[in-house]
């Protein structure tokens, strides 16, 4: 069974094509990395998967556990099991981390059912400890005045509290120093399991030293042009993206 299947996805914004016949399959339990130069459509893919309304979907399908989620509202997609760790998490003034995650958990419960506050905080604190987050953080306004590293850790905290089946991480390594990178990666590795798959979007190979992927895809101009194992990331790092272009894009079919 595949967690994620993207078939012939074509997406544009303001009449300009961004994703062009994009295809990707992630089997259950696997971690796939999506690499590629800036402006190639990686972040667009992440937002379209999460149901962002700014993009025009021309054609294609995105199946999450076999069900098409394309065209669904963002909250429905989230509740279906997709979590997007944002490249630039938004600040929500006055809403504490604890209350925000609690509201998100509550939204997943049937009407009339309430969260058990004691168990909730127990779980929250345990997961914060794992991410080396100070417990005082729970009372702080979501992402407001957070450093880059704190924001990313907070994304991973939310990801682990909301129990998604498919985690999409958009440039989670950007803005992280080496210590934060290790802590965040450990948080992700703890979540790896046979029931959950990951799409790790990154520009650099560095993150993949910590989160070792099963498959690495290289994206160029709106589609995946080459795939390989974890070694591919290292090859990319040493040879650069120009190599991809020469080798896989400009090469005659």
């Amino acid at each position: 069974m595949n967690t994620l299947e993207i078939k012939n996805l074509n997406v544009s914004i303001d009449g300009q094509a961004i994703l062009k016949d994009f295809n990707l399959t992630i089997p259950k339990g696997e971690v796939h990395a999506l690499m590629g130069p800036n402006g190639t459509g990686k972040s667009t893919l992440a937002k379209v998967m999460a149901g962002h309304e700014d993009y025009t979907v021309e054609s294609g399908e995105i199946l999450l556990d076999g069900v098409n989620i394309l065209g669904e509202d963002p909250d429905e997609i989230a509740k279906a099991g997709l979590f997007l760790a944002f490249q630039y998490p938004l600040e929500i003034p006055g809403v504490s981390i604890a209350n925000f995650i609690r509201a998100a958990r509550q939204a997943r419960l049937p009407e009339g059912e309430d969260i058990n506050a004691v168990e909730y905080y127990k779980e929250l604190y345990a997961k914060m400890d794992a991410l080396k987050m100070d417990r005082k953080f729970t009372a702080r306004s979501l992402n407001e005045g957070f450093s880059g590293g704190e924001k990313k850790r907070c994304e991973i905290l939310q990801m682990s509290m909301l129990n998604p089946t498919c985690c999409v991480m958009d440039e989670t390594d950007s803005g992280l120093d080496i210590d934060a990178l290790r802590i965040v990666s450990e948080g992700v590795n703890l979540m790896r399991g046979p029931e959950r798959s990951f799409l790790v979007i990154t520009h650099y190979q560095r993150l993949l030293d910590y989160i070792v992927p099963d498959v690495v895809h290289v994206m160029f101009d709106g589609k995946i042009v080459h795939s390989g194992d974890a070694e591919l990331a290292k090859e990319l790092e040493s040879k650069g993206y120009d190599w991809v272009q020469e080798e896989f894009v400009n090469a005659p079919a």
Binding site: H52, D75, A78, L90
Partner: protein, 472 residues
């Protein structure tokens, strides 16, 4: 009509809390329109003393002479059709002391609004007004023994003129504005409260104002006198069903805090979007006294309300904490007035407004510190939150400060809930309404901490409901 029929009638409407009505059935109806006969009718039904009747008739003259304040206020005021409004409707009942004696339809109305339940839980006394008159009024016995008076306006003026007459219409004179004149001519219901020297009420008194009839004008009149060293918290709530036609609510609320007394007045209004809500509220604070207004304005077509405090005695304190939420098609024109008339007086204004869709919020503030005063302080903060680009917010602060060591501080901010913030929250599984609601709650969060718990909970619920309703 049997109980079941009444139930069915009531169930066949929108399920939003507050938006339901029972069939009209009144013993006293002053008819449509406003003239001397209307006033005399009200006075006759109430069997009022001559001085009250004269007070009303004089007020009617002033009302007629005063122009609409459309020079500065919303032109929508011109759409109030004074000739089509009904000014007095009552079932001819005396306010009951037990809920069992309240007529079924009225009792059910208040039960659906949760009033008897709240009374049991945390209130020292409740008055529940249905259109023009109170249907229920009761205060805990021990407070009666301590000499606390909690009655309607008519009963107050009739039974305790020596207490209430000296202050009635003094904090807010009839001619203060067109709508205070209208209220002075037509007033009915409301609360008259006297707290004797040194008596400190531990639990709040509450009044609930309910409009049930269409084309109706509700004009309650409230006067609270807190004698020296006493303390009282008073809360009011209000709702009306959604009618096709405009409904008018125009109250006058006067507070008198004598030496070292404290009055806290809390309003949570949840008017339906056809109500013109034009209310005059002012408190007077004597030496060392404190008057605090907590004012939450949700709903209505147009609200104009600027609670004020006249800081008359040395060291008096005044405070206005307000939240206004203007949804599509609504205008919340609110603010505060602080009139410093003695040395060492301090005032604090914190105003938060939220505008959604085509909703519009206006803040008008007046802080007055004349030349001869020393060591007065005012702090004003007003923050606006805009949800989507069509909404509008305006701030009109008017500050006059002279004199020695008087300080005034004014801060204003405008922020927006962006589509990206909503997307972020929805990506976590919240619906659009829940996301907006959370953003709004976050915006008012620090202010809500200053409110009593029960009212924070109620307010949060109202915001959630309003935001759910604002998503297309």
């Amino acid at each position: 009509m049997s109980d079941t029929d009444i139930q069915d009638e009531a169930i066949n409407v929108d399920t939003e809390k507050g938006n339901f009505k029972y069939p009209e059935n009144y013993a006293y109806d002053a008819g449509v329109g406003l003239n001397e006969d209307t006033i005399k009718y009200i006075s006759d039904v109430k069997k009022e003393a001559d001085w009250v009747r004269e007070f009303r008739l004089k007020a009617l003259e002033i009302f007629k002479k005063k122009p609409m304040p459309t020079k500065w206020a919303d032109q929508d005021l011109e759409n109030i059709k004074f000739d089509e409004i009904r000014y007095y409707l009552s079932k001819g009942q005396q306010p009951s002391r037990t809920w069992d004696e309240v007529p079924d339809d009225v009792k059910e109305t208040f039960e659906r609004l949760g009033i008897p339940e709240q009374e049991r839980k945390f209130l020292a006394g409740v008055e529940a007004q249905f259109d023009s008159e109170a249907a229920y009024s009761r205060m805990k016995e021990d407070l009666e023994k301590e000499g606390v008076i909690f009655v309607g306006s008519s009963e107050g003026l009739e039974k305790y003129p020596e207490i209430f007459k000296p202050y009635f219409g003094k904090v807010i004179p009839t001619a203060d504005n067109k709508f205070s004149a209208l209220n002075s001519a037509t007033f009915s219901g409301g609360s008259f409260i006297y707290v004797p020297k040194g008596v400190k009420l531990k639990q709040p008194l509450q009044a609930y104002f309910r409009i049930n009839a269409e084309n109706f004008g509700q004009f309650e009149r409230t006067l609270i006198i807190a004698d020296e060293d006493s303390e009282i918290t008073y809360m009011e709530g209000c709702t009306a069903p959604k009618f096709e036609t405009a409904t008018l609510h125009s109250a006058v609320v006067e507070l008198v805090a004598l030496k070292n007394a404290k009055i806290q007045y809390i309003t949570v209004q949840n008017w339906s979007s056809n109500v013109f809500n034009l209310v005059t509220k002012r408190g007077m604070a004597d030496e060392g006294a404190e008057v605090k207004w907590i004012d939450c304005n949700i709903g209505s077509r147009l609200t104009m309300k600027y609670p004020g405090v006249v800081l008359k005695g040395k060291g008096a304190r005044g405070e206005v904490l307000s939240i206004a939420l203007a949804n599509d098609g609504q205008h919340q024109d609110t603010g505060a007035k602080m009139i410093h008339l003695a040395d060492n007086t301090t005032s604090n204004i914190i105003s938060k407004s939220i505008s959604i869709g085509k909703g519009r919020s206006t803040y008008r503030g007046q802080v007055h510190m004349p030349k001869h005063l020393k060591n007065c302080k005012n702090n004003t903060e007003c923050d606006a939150l805009l949800i989507n680009t069509n909404s509008r917010t305006d701030t009109y602060p008017a500050i006059t400060t002279r004199g020695e060591n008087n300080t005034v501080q004014h801060e204003a901010s405008v922020s927006k809930v962006s589509a990206e913030q909503i997307f972020y929250m929805m990506q976590r599984g919240l619906s659009e309404g829940e996301a907006m609601s959370l953003a709004v709650n976050g915006f008012v969060n620090d202010l809500m901490k200053a409110f009593p718990m029960e009212y924070s909970v109620e307010l949060k619920r109202l915001i959630d409901m309003e935001m759910e309703g604002s998503v297309g």
